[in-house]
């Protein structure tokens, strides 16, 4: 089945140690998103790609970076994780039509020690 896959499911990193989260999709969607979701809160958009065009949210810290080497894959890099970065990170996709629902992966739960 076509889907959005996130790896790993759980990630533990140390304070200040760079970490990369991965997302892949078989839907061939043009748009890919990264959301941060803290406990009992709504998902918060960090950035999104429309094809190779990167769109950063104004309040996304510089500590968060992203790469999209091709249509299928997108990575979230946290350069120096702080304790406040512990959260669920959700990857999502949508078609290029605009005004379309998002397809989410199961998320990566990041812990920072």
């Amino acid at each position: 089945d076509a889907m959005v896959i996130q790896n790993p499911r759980y990630q533990v990193t140390q304070f200040g140690k760079p970490v990369t989260l991965s997302c892949s999709q078989t839907l061939n969607h043009n748009v890919m998103y990264w959301y941060q979701q803290k406990s009992s809160q709504a998902p918060k958009l960090l950035f999104h790609y429309y094809d190779k065009d990167f769109n950063n949210e104004a309040d996304t810290p510089d500590n968060f970076q992203s790469r999209r080497p091709n249509t299928s894959f997108c990575f979230l890099d946290i350069r120096s994780p702080g304790l406040g970065d512990a959260a669920m990170y959700l990857c999502a996709t949508s078609t290029m039509g605009g005004g379309e629902k998002l397809f989410f992966g199961s998320g990566t739960q990041l812990s920072v020690l």
């Binding site: 959005v4 748009v31 998103y33 959301y35 009992s40 809160q41 709504a42 998902p43 918060k44 958009l45 999104h48 429309y50 769109n55 959700l90 999502a92 949508s94 290029m96 605009g98 005004g99 629902k101 998002l102 397809f103 989410f104 992966g105 199961s106 998320g107 739960q109």
Partner: protein, 111 residues
């Protein structure tokens, strides 16, 4: 400013009863609204959507109502089942390809 918020953080409903989850928004420029269901440890899952040129849309056991006059969105679940227990988020479009989520309502189904 842009905002999508929910009136109640937790809703407890008896199994078999109908559930109504509400959502308020402040930006009248949005033209597309979506409800998602998120179960524990999983990503949000699409339930139903509605465009701003509609007032009501029905799915299987779910209905979404949109009142643009008062900027209010609601999700109605008929004959609520234990499997409906989850957190429900409303979301709205904000510009091209960008979607903002509301605070979320936890639905608890009582046996």
């Amino acid at each position: 400013g842009e905002n999508v918020g929910l009136h109640l953080p937790t809703l407890s409903v008896q199994e078999g009863d109908n559930s109504i989850i509400n959502c308020a928004y402040s930006n009248s420029a949005s033209d597309y609204f979506i409800w998602y269901k998120q179960e524990s440890g999983k990503g949000p899952q699409f339930i139903i959507d509605i465009r701003s040129n509609m007032d009501k849309r029905q799915g299987q056991r779910v209905t979404v109502l949109l009142n643009k006059t008062v900027k209010h969105l609601s999700l109605q679940i008929a004959a609520t089942q234990p499997g409906d227990s989850a957190v429900y988020f409303c979301s709205r479009s904000s510009g091209t390809y960008k979607y903002i989520f509301g605070t979320g309502t936890r639905l608890k189904v009582l046996a």
